[in-house]
Symmetry: C2
């Protein structure tokens, strides 16, 4: 999150395409929808449904997913606190690049720490970071346990598992709160897209 | 470049939008145009001109630039050999994500080592990595010296400078070779776009 790059002898290269031209060409704004919530809250499922709805509307949309980014860009990182922090830092910068490119990028990471999310927000222009709390509660997520991870965490086979023996710091003032414990995936995805539409994100 | 992530307990999440649906929605293919060449060869200038031409045609295009990526995602990296390698590894993964999202992403990094470029090529599906040798020769680049870096390198103020006291390994079989020493930026950019058009990248 440093604004002072380690590498010297850098100059900013001014692009030929400014943001207004990009938005006009694409017909929608660029932004990062930052989904945060417990394991099993339905972040990835919601992200992929929203992506489909946006692409069907002709938007440029893409999901950055905790699972698949960790196979590539962040394959060198584990789940220790500093590694989680670096994971979120890198994903934040990639999301920033996608938003700058004019995409609606949807990230699906637990991202349990307020400070880490605040740092991602701080690196993006006003209005481009949209924090979405995917707010199924712990009992609901643990009852679902789609990957069997809560069972392993309760059995002590996984250490530092968010919600069990590591904290989840819920957003205090997210742009949007989606109760995936009380409504269907379709309802939740429609809620997100309606929010974007009302705020003008889907207009060029 | 490891295919074995360090983090355990990962599963691949299958998206709802496949590549064909994405290409049809956008009207063009996703790919990474990987520009490689000496400092001063005109990579960034060419990248931004190609980006503009593609956006004017309604494509989703974006430049990942050596200078601006290093202010964000790779602000923790310098220019030592291992740091250059990690720089290219991360940029390669970001380019892969953009191409997977259906974008035409244009990267402008010296990327002097064949092995590093080969590793980026290997992480992408066949046909999505398009190596473009921006082939102004050293004498031309040094005569231009737009950032005054060759002068500093000759004076010993910068160590490990590509072309002076660090190697540049030119591509042996790039998809495209652009002689920016002999033709104008407009001519070079038109050459790149014509190549993309002939190969079908600009059709959905």
């Amino acid at each position: 999150m440093s604004t002072q790059p380690k590498a010297e002898n850098l100059t900013w290269h001014r692009g030929e395409v400014d943001r207004a031209a990009r938005t006009a060409a694409h017909g929608h704004q660029g932004a990062a929808l930052w989904l945060t919530g417990l394991s099993g809250s339905g972040k990835s499922t919601l992200a992929h449904r929203v992506e489909r709805l946006l692409i069907e509307r002709g938007c440029f949309a893409y999901v950055l997913d905790g699972d698949n980014v960790r196979h590539g860009l962040n394959a060198d990182l584990g789940f220790a606190p500093e590694e989680r922090k670096e994971n979120i830092r890198r994903v934040g910068h990639v999301a920033r690049l996608f938003a700058d490119a004019g995409a609606l990028v949807i990230t699906a990471f637990i991202s349990p720490y307020r400070e880490d999310r605040a740092q991602v927000r701080a690196m993006m222009p006003e209005g481009e970071f949209v924090e979405v709390h995917v707010a199924a509660d712990l009992a609901t997520c643990e009852a679902r346990d789609p990957k069997g991870l809560y069972a392993k965490a309760r059995a002590g086979e996984i250490r530092g598992f968010t919600g069990i023996d590591a904290p989840y710091e819920a957003p205090e003032a997210p742009e949007l709160r989606v109760d995936t414990g009380a409504q269907s995936v379709d309802e939740s995805a429609a809620q997100v897209v309606a929010w974007l539409e009302e705020r003008g994100y889907l207009a060029g």
